[in-house]
């Protein structure tokens, strides 16, 4: 009865958008994981004679202002981007999930207090917060992750809270209570599985945003330390040397475009499959 094509994975495989998204994501993740095997050059090796080279068989995406291989550096940048992305989304998502459920189930005053915190953090511009924190904290990935978590957990919190509130008063939860289900059983067996769908959609949509924040902070010089091969620093080098070569800025933007497309498509495909109202007939 529950053949593969009826499972979530099966339904995703039948959706061309999802297949494309998964291919893009798998390629990017694969390139980040096997960066050392794929790269033909040491990402930090300088070769001044070949600086600002155009793409060639030797340098697939050209070289930067110090003659370093851009492709090899982008592979390393992928590791940073995915590390920051997954860690920050994981932490922010968990905090948001817990606080959202607490707000949804808690007393009115606690709900209002948490909503106030969510709204305040959401209203605060990310870049301003990033610059302020960068001035206070040592430069590095930890700071980037803290900035992302602070600015994005409220989004998960709000979504989870809304879902929890509407589910809390739904008839099937009432039916479960009438069957003698305890509070914990209702929260973990009935509310949580219903909340996770929208939660994962949001997480998939949010991941490229997080990666872009990391790139943006590195571009502004408040992200990873200088010299680290991040997508943002590559963009910054391309921006600084736009008169010498157009290739650097194009190459630096390319992975950002791909990661955004991949995860946005995945989020949309997940939404189509997880939201019963949008789901087409089997």
């Amino acid at each position: 009865m529950t053949a593969f094509k009826y499972t979530l994975a099966g339904r995703l495989m039948a959706d061309p958008l999802a297949v494309m998204a998964l291919l893009i994501i798998a390629t990017l993740v694969g390139m980040a994981v096997f960066a050392d095997l794929i790269a033909q050059h040491d990402p930090d090796a300088m070769n001044i004679a070949d600086r600002f080279a155009a793409p060639s068989a030797e340098y697939w995406l050209g070289t930067d202002n110090l003659g370093r291989d851009t492709f090899s550096r982008l592979l390393q940048g992928g590791r940073i981007a995915l590390t920051v992305g997954l860690t920050a989304v994981g932490i922010a998502g968990t905090i948001g999930l817990v606080l959202g459920m607490v707000a949804g189930f808690g007393p009115r005053w606690l709900d209002n207090a948490l909503l106030f915190i969510f709204d305040t953090l959401r209203a605060y511009p990310t870049i301003i917060l990033a610059l302020a924190l960068a001035a206070l904290m040592p430069r590095g990935l930890i700071t980037v992750i803290v900035v992302v978590v602070l600015t994005s957990f409220s989004e998960y919190g709000r979504v989870v809270r809304t879902q929890t509130l509407s589910l809390k008063h739904s008839e099937f939860i009432l039916a479960e209570r009438a069957m003698g289900a305890s509070f914990g059983r209702i929260v973990f067996h009935h509310i949580l599985p219903n909340v996770l769908g929208p939660f994962f959609i949001l997480a998939a949509m949010n991941l490229p945003v997080v990666i872009t924040i990391e790139a943006g902070m590195s571009f502004l010089g408040v992200g990873v330390p200088p010299g680290t091969p991040s997508w943002g620093t590559t963009l910054k080098d391309g921006f600084d040397h736009i008169r010498q070569t157009p290739w650097l800025i194009v190459a630096g933007g390319l992975p950002l475009i791909l990661v955004t497309l991949g995860f946005t498509f995945l989020g949309e495909a997940l939404r189509d499959q997880l939201d019963p109202k949008l789901r087409k007939s089997r």
């Binding site: 009865m1 529950t2 739904s170 008839e171 099937f172 009432l174 039916a175 479960e176 209570r177 009438a178 069957m179 003698g180 289900a181 305890s182 059983r185 067996h189 009935h190 599985p193 219903n194 769908g197 019963p276 089997r282």
Partner: protein, 332 residues
């Protein structure tokens, strides 16, 4: 069963002088006032009344599932001699599902959409201390019992894969899985079409005969009540106005509201009417209920007495009472 035999059967459910109010911005809304109700073991009792008469509040009170702004001002509810309103939360959870359970109105919303039927039915048996396979076996047996084809396969389906009628059968299977002493059916056929309604009613009768539970059947549909129930309790604006055996009440109502309700049943119209009959007037404001009889503004028989004095329950015939000063004038 004769009256003499009925008297000796113990009450499965006994609600006595229940008064329940909701705190609203307009003040305290008195949703139930002095409601008394007995359901004997193995008996099917109908509760009938129009929207807003307190049927849902009654169910919530009996199951102690009232929202936070509700207060039980007075009265007690006993299930098999055990007080529900003062039971510990732990004991209450143990009683729900096992001793009493509910089938809700809309089967499209009363099942968890993201869990399989099997998972939900295993969940209900979580206190049983039996293996997963045994839980599945019992669940499948119950699904087969309520008339679902291929019950083992149904355990692996999600609610959205089933039709409304099948879902209501699943809901009935879930509610009766633990063989409760009391099954509360909250308008279980209102959301279904007429053909299914007949099937579900027949199913409830079969289940009742098989596991011997008492059924409290809530409905606004007189035909269904007449078909299914032994006794009927008529509710109006938060009060019980009349109670007695189904046939007696429908043939000789002893409360003007019951009489009007029967007149308004479209099923008994002999010929096509331009407009369907209705009871003129509307429900009184329950935040400030008028003194005297609650129905007098809409009643043809109302006198000065009705405005002054709230009618008490008067025995009409044995086993039957009406809360009307003029009960004997209702059915000439």
């Amino acid at each position: 069963m004769t009256e003499a035999v009925l008297e000796t059967v113990p009450d499965a459910l006994s609600a006595h002088e229940l008064s329940v109010g909701y705190d609203t911005r307009q003040g305290r809304l008195q949703a139930l006032r002095d409601v008394s109700l007995d359901v004997r073991a193995g008996e099917i009792v109908g509760v009938v009344g129009e929207s807003g008469c307190g049927k849902s509040t009654l169910i919530s009170t009996l199951m102690r599932l009232l929202p936070e702004n509700a207060h039980v001002a007075d009265g007690c509810v006993e299930l098999d001699g055990e007080d529900i309103l003062t039971a510990s939360p732990r004991r209450l959870r143990a009683m729900r599902g096992r001793e009493m359970s509910v089938v809700f109105q809309d089967p499209m919303t009363s099942l968890n959409p993201v869990l399989t039927i099997g998972r939900q039915m295993r969940d209900i048996q979580y206190r049983e201390g039996i293996s997963k396979a045994e839980k599945d076996r019992r669940a499948a047996h119950m699904l087969g019992r309520v008339g679902l084809p291929d019950p083992e396969a149904k355990l692996r389906t999600y609610p959205h894969e089933l039709s409304g009628g099948m879902r209501q059968r699943v809901a009935i299977a879930m509610a009766t899985l633990m063989h409760p002493k009391l099954l509360i059916a909250d308008e279980p056929t209102t959301a279904l079409d007429a053909t299914l309604e007949v099937q579900i009613i027949a199913l409830l009768q079969e289940i009742q005969a098989e596991i011997g539970c008492a059924i409290l059947f809530i409905s606004h549909h007189l035909g269904v009540i007449a078909e299914l129930c032994d006794r009927v309790v008529v509710m109006y604006a938060g009060e019980t106005v009349e109670e007695g055996p189904v046939a007696d009440i429908f043939e000789h109502p002893a409360h003007p509201y019951t009489a009007k309700l029967i007149e308004c049943d479209p099923g008994r119209l002999k010929q096509r009417a331009e407009t369907l009959p209705s009871i003129p007037g509307s429900l009184p404001d329950l935040t400030d209920p008028p003194p005297g009889c609650i129905f007098r503004d809409r009643c043809d028989l109302a006198t000065d007495l009705c405005a002054r004095q709230r009618p008490s329950r008067r025995a009409v015939t044995p086993g039957r009472w009406s809360a009307c000063h003029h009960a004997e004038k209702v059915s000439p």
